[in-house]
């Protein structure tokens, strides 16, 4: 079985974000970029499944500009066998990404597709679900535990939902998106980084995959959230009630 893992190159989680002066988006020039933390978890889970003997090959996919190769190299250094880079300089929204991943799935025929539950730059939490719908495959999102049954070709997934934990059985092939508590991703060791240099990364374009990239959504403006106002000191409970009633209108 092959496992396809989609990894996204995003602004590093520890970097202070700044909105571009022209309000078209977030500043990414001269900013440290890394693999999306949830994608790291997805890749780690795929690698563990391969190491347990349930899969033959882990393929890392990234869609974006030429620097995505760095993200793929990190994935290869963690242990993925090969990489696919769909090169584009446009910003694609989840539906387009899902269409591209569907196209790749049609070519590669994986038994499992792993994604992070969401990217930390857009927090969409849509791509995994859309890929499953386009493929007509079952989906198990926010996975905090994944157990495979090779004979029955079924994955038992614990999902972190608002009410607690939900356990699902999904028939393979399936799409799983990963949540924080699923695993702790491994560090890429120096020898593995060296070995990763010789692993292949296939370059493709959206035209190669015959995907319609026209988007129905246009980003109009990106602004910073309003600055937090400083608190107001009140001198008595009566003053507090008065303010809550007449200024904040909450009682």
């Amino acid at each position: 079985m092959k496992i396809l893992v989609a990894v996204k190159r995003v602004v590093d989680y520890a970097v202070k974000i700044r909105v571009k002066p022209d309000k078209t988006g977030v500043e990414t020039q001269n900013v440290k970029m890394s693999m999306n933390p949830f994608c790291e978890i997805a890749l780690e889970e795929a690698l563990r499944i391969k190491e347990a003997g349930f899969a033959k090959e882990v393929i890392a996919v990234s869609i974006g500009p030429s620097q995505c190769v760095d993200t793929l190299r990190t994935g290869l250094a963690m242990g993925a066998d090969r990489g696919i880079h769909v090169e584009t300089n446009s910003i694609f929204l989840p539906l387009t990404i899902a269409k591209i991943l569907k196209s790749l799935a049609d070519v590669e025929n994986p038994g499992l597709i792993f994604l992070g539950k969401q990217a930390i730059d857009d927090d969409c939490n849509q791509t995994g679900q859309m890929v499953a719908a386009l493929l007509g495959w079952p989906q198990a999102t926010f996975a905090s535990k994944v157990v495979l049954d090779k004979d029955k070709n079924v994955a038992t997934v614990d999902r972190e939902v608002d009410g607690g934990l939900e356990t699902l059985n999904v028939d393979l092939p399936a799409v799983i998106t990963t949540d924080l508590r699923l695993n702790q991703p491994r560090y890429a060791s120096l020898p593995n980084i060296m070995k990763a240099k010789s692993k292949p990364i296939k370059k493709m374009t959206v035209q190669d995959l015959k995907v319609d990239i026209k988007s129905d959504i246009e980003i109009l403006e990106v602004t910073e959230p309003p600055k937090r106002k400083s608190g107001v000191m009140v001198s008595s409970v009566d003053e507090l009630i008065d303010k809550l009633k007449n200024e904040a209108h909450v009682v």
């Binding site: 520890a14 202070k16 700044r18 702790q184 560090y187 120096l190």
Partner: protein
């Protein structure tokens, strides 16, 4: 490639490594409850006996010194006996080992210039040479911070066609202003600097470009790996470094993702860790490299810097401003800089010499004060801060250069200390030292020569001439600000270093700190959130982070000294000079002050390693990839 992977452990699975590496465990820490970093910002300040508007709510401030006020009962002390820095490879043969011809520790200007020069020589002479650079930052350039008005002298020698190769060197210095500041005014003085021909740059960006050049030539660069130990052979010769184990928990146990470090060996090892490099300091001590040439101790300054994006109308690319005087007092050497870069950005910083006497001095707060000076405020108003950072720099100059060659390699760049203090430039000399060491290494590996040719060639080069001519500027300030300025003027216009004597440095920086009872606490104004900021806000802009669940990389040689000496006698200077609020004193259950080390905040500036009065704090490398993420600095 003269490199082969010697795999001494047969399996790469984490579990078998875990078992094998249990024998390897060098880190044993007492079990401690972990506490969150950034605590003081989440704790509200206690009521102050002083004027409330004068307090930031630092738990270690003047009030706490006089009468302890109850705060966060969560206290913790981290005390670990320093681990031995040397390790014979013969006894522990369980780690993977990778060999290169030349190993360079640190991907800064010196390290990368050495790598580039080595690869150039290897191409010229058609001899293959494997070169590896390890870098503790997550990216090349991530830990690089500097003023910087760049003198391209060394770059012209190294890569003569840099102008055609999109080097991020675009803004020529257009003016050299020099101001003497008082609290409200700025007096223009004749500038002692001449930056004609130099460029206002971001050194972080230049180093990234140099990294690209080095990789193009075939250098292997591995960011995200910190060199934590020097490796020696049986004859006490340096054979390489060991990278730090990753995935060790705060209590010393191995985590799920434990990854043992790797031994990287080089036939020649060059240390290019920058100012006060952790391994370089051990090497200098071990081989007594200062004693060998009767060099004095190194002296340092702490630079705190911000890059601002300012109003277009106030931006003047290439403008170079230096100031002296306020906010520092006449007995404290230091000054500020303001350089206009491109893209509406300005680099602004305050440099404070670390031989200051007043234990209550807080260089970070002095920098915040500086920004409110009318002459500076005018430039910054309407702008926003893009990045913040801090780093120590060498001020010892000529007198403090150690013998830079040791068995197995050499020390290059600021780890040895080639900064030209009156020019306040160290990049060009660091690069040249890297190039000279590379040439010596090439000779040693292929032409039967000795690494000592590095020392000989240094002394024959313009680096030596420059540093010799500049040697008396800084020590003259031991006599005070005005005598220092007078002697500097004499040196600059008349003497130019051509005197038969060499002034000496005063006490070592850590010895210069006076006892707290001789001084009164300084009351610093509250930050206004527009020009001045509190430490957590600034720290956020440095993009610094470390995995929190790892042992503190800041080691106390004696865990009792902070409470026995630092706090009572010196009023906890580490809680004031650290630009990242790593050191905080909070109350323990018995109401006594205890040191809390927020290692996660660390900016890797090394000020604590330098300035701690009893030299009790040892800065060691954390897990690779941690620390600041500078990109514009």
């Amino acid at each position: 490639m003269h490199r082969f992977l010697v795999k001494l452990s047969s399996s790469s699975s984490p579990f078998s490594n875990q078992l094998r590496s249990l024998k390897n465990q060098r880190l044993i820490l007492p079990l401690l409850p972990s506490s969150k970093p950034f605590t003081s910002s989440s704790v509200s300040p206690p009521p102050s006996p002083l004027n409330a508007s004068n307090r930031f709510g630092y738990p270690y401030s003047a009030d706490l010194f006089r009468n302890l006020s109850p705060l966060n009962p969560n206290s913790r002390i981290l005390g670990v006996n320093g681990i031995t820095s040397s390790r014979c490879i013969s006894s522990e043969a369980v780690r993977e080992s990778i060999e290169y011809d030349v190993l360079i520790v640190g991907a800064g200007p010196a390290g990368l210039s050495a790598a580039i020069r080595l690869k150039q020589l290897s191409q010229e002479k058609n001899i293959d040479l494997s070169v590896c650079v390890v870098e503790k930052g997550a990216e090349v350039g991530g830990h690089i911070i500097s003023g910087n008005v760049f003198e391209p002298l060394a770059l012209d020698e190294l890569l003569p066609h840099w102008r055609q190769e999109h080097a991020p060197i675009e803004i020529p210095a257009s003016s050299d202003k020099f101001w003497f500041l008082t609290k409200d005014r700025a007096f223009s003085l004749p500038s002692p600097f001449d930056n004609k021909g130099n460029y206002v740059i971001s050194l972080s960006q230049l180093v990234r470009w140099l990294g690209g050049k080095a990789e193009e030539l075939g250098t292997e660069i591995y960011p995200g790996f910190s060199a934590s130990e020097v490796l020696f052979d049986a004859s006490d010769k340096v054979v390489g470094i060991a990278t730090k184990d990753m995935g060790i928990s705060k209590d010393g146990s191995k985590k799920e993702n434990f990854q043992p470090g790797v031994d990287i060996k080089g036939r020649v090892t060059l240390f290019a860790e920058g100012c006060r490099g952790s391994l370089s300091e051990r090497i200098i001590k071990k081989y007594k490299l200062r004693e060998e040439v009767n060099a004095q101790h190194q002296t340092y300054a702490l630079g705190i810097k911000e890059v601002w994006e300012i109003d277009e109308s106030k931006h003047n690319p290439g403008e170079v401003i230096h100031t002296l005087g306020w906010p520092l007092d006449p007995k404290t050497y230091g000054g500020s800089f303001l350089y206009h870069m491109n893209d509406r950005q300005v680099a602004l910083g305050l440099v404070v010499a670390l031989n200051y006497h007043n234990p209550f001095l807080n260089p970070y707060e002095e920098f915040q004060k500086l920004k409110h000076h009318p002459a500076i405020k005018g430039i910054l108003e309407g702008g926003t801060v893009l990045q913040y950072g801090a780093r120590t720099l060498n001020e010892g100059g000529f007198q403090s250069i150690p013998y830079p060659v040791f068995p197995g390699g050499a020390i290059i760049g600021c780890s040895a200390g080639f900064l030209n203090v009156p020019k306040i430039k160290g990049t060009h000399t660091a690069m040249k030292s890297g190039m000279l060491a590379a040439e010596a290494a090439f000779g040693a590996l292929h032409e039967g020569l000795n690494m000592n040719t590095y020392w000989d060639n240094l002394r024959d080069s313009w680096v030596w001439k420059e540093l010799y001519a500049a040697r008396n500027y800084r020590p003259a300030f031991e006599y005070g600000l005005l005598p220092g300025l007078a002697i500097s003027a004499m040196e600059h216009y008349v003497l130019k270093g051509k005197v038969p004597f060499t002034l000496k440095h005063g006490k070592a920086d850590h010895e210069a700190t006076d006892l707290a009872r001789k001084w009164t606490p300084i009351v610093y104004p509250k930050p206004d959130g527009v020009l001045s900021f509190d430490v957590p806000t600034s720290l956020y802009r440095s993009n610094t982070n470390h995995d929190h669940d790892q042992p503190s990389h800041l080691r106390l040689r004696d865990p009792k000294i902070p409470e026995k000496v630092n706090f009572p006698e010196y009023a906890a200077p580490e809680s004031r000079y650290c630009p990242a609020r790593v050191y905080e004193y909070i109350e323990d259950e018995e109401g006594k002050p205890k040191l809390q080390i927020n290692a996660q905040n660390c900016l890797h500036c090394k000020a604590c390693d330098i300035k701690d009065p009893k030299q009790n704090i040892e800065w060691t490398v954390p897990e690779g990839g941690g620390g600041p993420a500078y990109s514009l600095m």
